[in-house]
């Protein structure tokens, strides 16, 4: 596991765990988005390859993550995402935002939405769109939970 320190210093940086679950090793997307989020001022923890949902949730817990981003290109999202959401709930991490990037067929999107996953980023999504989505969501949550 590798921590990427950001040069910017806001009071509480948004903390993001980027994970690559499943057997697939195509990590270009995961690495690019990890760097983009870091450059946008977030604190990014990249788990490396072949993480089980259990390992990802453990990392999110240890790192006090606001966001868990998973990169899946292999078609295994229908197995991985439900398990991930279930484990987060079991740990009481209901506020953690789950976002998914990769090759997700349109037909699977309603199923992922039903799990509460709104941030689904298909091929060609600009990095800025992902940065904005995370920023909006995390600020929204902290606004309601800080009182």
């Amino acid at each position: 596991m590798r921590k990427v320190e950001s040069r910017m210093k806001p009071e509480r940086k948004i903390r993001v765990v980027i994970a690559k679950p499943g057997l697939d090793g195509h990590d270009r997307g995961a690495k690019v988005i990890a760097r983009a989020l870091r450059d946008a001022g977030m604190e990014v923890i990249y788990t490396g390859l072949r993480q089980t949902p259990e390992q990802i949730v453990e990392a999110a817990l240890q790192e006090d993550a606001d966001v868990v981003g998973v990169s899946i290109l292999s078609g295994a999202h229908n197995h991985i995402c439900p398990r991930l959401v279930e484990l987060l709930k079991a740990k009481g991490m209901n506020d953690v935002l789950v976002v998914v990037g990769g090759i997700i067929p349109d037909v699977d999107i309603p199923t992922l939405n039903a799990l509460g996953i709104e941030g689904i980023f298909q091929p060609g999504t600009p990095m800025q769109a992902i940065i904005d989505f995370i920023g909006r969501y995390v600020r929204g949550v902290s606004a309601t939970s800080s009182t």
């Binding site: 596991m1 590798r2 990427v4 499943g22 057997l23 697939d24 090793g25 195509h26 990590d27 270009r28 690495k31 690019v32 990890a34 760097r35 983009a36 870091r38 990249y46 788990t47 490396g48 390859l49 072949r50 089980t52 292999s74 078609g75 295994a76 999202h77 229908n78 197995h79 991985i80 090759i103 067929p105 349109d106 037909v107 298909q122 091929p123 060609g124 600009p126 990095m127 800025q128």
Partner: protein
């Protein structure tokens, strides 16, 4: 009969600067355009260019180019169960495909059986599931192994899958000496780019040398490795990095063979290469030309190869998957055609053209057929096969070829200084270089400096963005493969399987060639997962330190 090569006439300065302006981001040099830098002296060039079919083969390995034989139209294909993929192969052969190319699913590529917990949700998704000889028999049902050439894209379990193919040939009554095809067997680019590795690098190198040695003796027409730049490029490398890392990987394999006591000319002639065909047309052509020249010189000078076949770099090309867009997917047909043309003009010996729907899913039958038709149009409806290296002598291409060679030699030196490629990988050097390039690439797209039609330019045209049909692999494939595996485990001789796996384990502890042990395990219907586990027991697994 050799036809005289047609050499492109020298372009005028005016036309040259126009051409150079059109290509803004060559990666071979500083990133500027040709007009920013020096040009190749035409008189010097005329003296040193050489002819196609002669050392150092910059202009091609055949004097008559495609005059003697067209490139092999080899469409990478595999999905779902072995039955489904077998049907796709028969359709591709019927449609004029001239070679097969097997895409395996992730569990197979990672040496896991379909019932392993890590295989959950992955069986048959990214390729065909092949767990044992029984699946291999189904995959090639009705296809004679003496009648096709087969390329198999697999790396860590390459010796296991090759053993299955050899045993299948035995069963079909085909002599190994007559088998023709390629096993990718290129583990270094897995550590560098695609990350489908199992064992630590040094043990993996031993497996590769075992394949070199075994095939030199037993299957002399088989290409024992396809040293691949394709995945390196797809992971984000520039054209120059693709060229340099791939050839340096090749050098590492040759050195490993030599260190194991093999004679260079005994195994190097069966080494083949695999490059990407990307959007920068001239740069890609220059890359292929530079690759041939560098390899020929390296083999002759650094390794003192004497057999001409050791000097000749033969390569497969595949159009750039990473250039395909999910938006306006029909644009992908155009991209692929242009990329394929660059590969042909660069002298590719074998070619895969991507299908228009591959940013979304594995291709449908119709999309796969259109991809094949794309290269058939280039081959049969145009005059490109009448020429050999038609850009030979072109200022732009010659200059880029020269820059590619110089840049690659700089990388060779850096990697040599790091102690060779295995050592450079262990230090994360090529991984970091590629990750940096990938990030720069994405930033250029976001800033609009790098144009992607339908994504950051002409994105809202309102046409061409209609949903296209895509292939959907459902979960029943996994269930079928698991039950098939259970049946196999019930009917095979379990004691015989255990015995062959024990022998394999003992072999892994020592230094004996493992291929004969793997062949015995395959004959007993041991699975890919069982054979890979036997070696895991002895060698452990590799885990990388992720470099961002």
């Amino acid at each position: 009969m050799a036809r005289p090569p047609i050499i492109a006439s020298n372009v005028t300065k005016t036309r040259l600067s126009t051409a150079a302006t059109a290509v803004q981001t060559w990666a071979s040099g500083s990133g500027g355009t040709l007009s920013d830098r020096g040009r190749t002296d035409p008189f010097e060039l005329a003296r040193t260019l050489g002819e196609p079919g002669t050392f150092p083969y910059t202009r091609g390995i055949h004097a008559d180019g495609y005059g003697g034989k067209l490139w092999t139209m080899r469409q990478f294909s595999g999905f779902g169960t072995p039955e489904e993929t077998n049907q796709r192969y028969k359709a591709l052969l019927l449609a004029g495909g001239t070679g097969l190319s097997v895409a395996f699913d992730l569990p197979t590529l990672m040496g896991r059986d379909p019932d392993h917990p890590l295989a959950l949700g992955e069986v048959g998704k990214c390729g065909v599931s092949v767990a044992s000889l029984a699946d291999m028999e189904t995959l090639f049902d009705g296809i004679g192994l003496d009648a096709v050439t087969t390329s198999m894209t697999i790396n860590s379990p390459a010796p296991m899958i090759l053993a299955m193919y050899l045993v299948l040939a035995e069963k079909q009554g085909v002599d190994w000496a007559r088998l023709s095809g390629t096993i990718q067997n290129d583990i270094l680019k897995e550590y560098i780019a695609q990350k489908e590795y199992i064992y630590p690098p040094r043990q993996s190198m031993r497996l590769i040398v075992d394949v070199f040695e075994f095939c030199a003796r037993e299957a002399a027409r088989w290409n024992t490795i396809s040293v691949s730049g394709y995945h390196i490029r797809e992971a984000g490398a520039t054209a120059l990095q693709e060229l340099a890392f791939t050839l340096r990987d090749g050098i590492e394999y040759v050195q490993a063979g030599v260190d194991a006591g093999l004679a260079v000319d005994e195994f190097v002639p069966r080494m083949s290469f695999f490059f990407n065909a990307h959007n920068n047309f001239f740069e890609e052509i220059a890359k292929y030309r530079a690759a041939r020249s560098l390899w020929a010189q390296t083999m002759r000078e650094r390794f003192e190869a004497r057999d001409e076949r050791s000097w000749k770099l033969r390569f497969h090309a595949q159009t750039a998957g990473v250039s395909l867009t999910a938006q306006q997917p029909y644009n992908n047909v155009v991209r692929t055609a242009i990329q394929a043309l660059a590969a042909v003009l660069g002298g590719a010996n074998s070619l895969h053209t991507n299908a228009l729907d591959e940013a979304l899913a594995l291709p449908t039958g119709d999309a796969a057929l259109l991809a094949l038709r794309t290269q058939q149009v280039i081959a049969h409806e145009t005059d490109v096969t009448l020429t050999v290296d038609p850009f030979g002598g072109s200022q732009v291409v010659e200059h880029l070829t020269q820059e590619m060679q110089t840049g690659a030699l700089d990388y060779f030196k850096q990697i040599d200084d790091l102690g060779g490629m295995v050592s450079a990988i262990e230090q994360g050097y090529p991984q970091r270089e590629i990750a940096d390039s990938a990030y720069r690439d994405q930033q250029a797209v976001e800033a609009g400096e790098s144009v992607v039609i339908g994504v950051n330019r002409y994105a809202d045209s309102g046409t061409g963005d209609a949903a296209i049909p895509t292939l959907y692999i459902d979960e029943s494939v996994g269930e079928r493969q698991v039950s098939r595996l259970e049946e196999l485990r019930d009917r095979r001789d379990a004691a015989r399987v255990a015995e062959t796996l024990d022998v394999l384990r003992q072999g892994a502890v020592g230094t004996t060639n493992l291929m004969p042990h793997l062949l015995d395990a395959v004959r007993a219907y041991a699975t890919v997962g069982e054979m890979c586990d036997a070696l895991r027991d002895v060698w452990g697994e590799y885990e990388e330190t992720p470099a961002l």
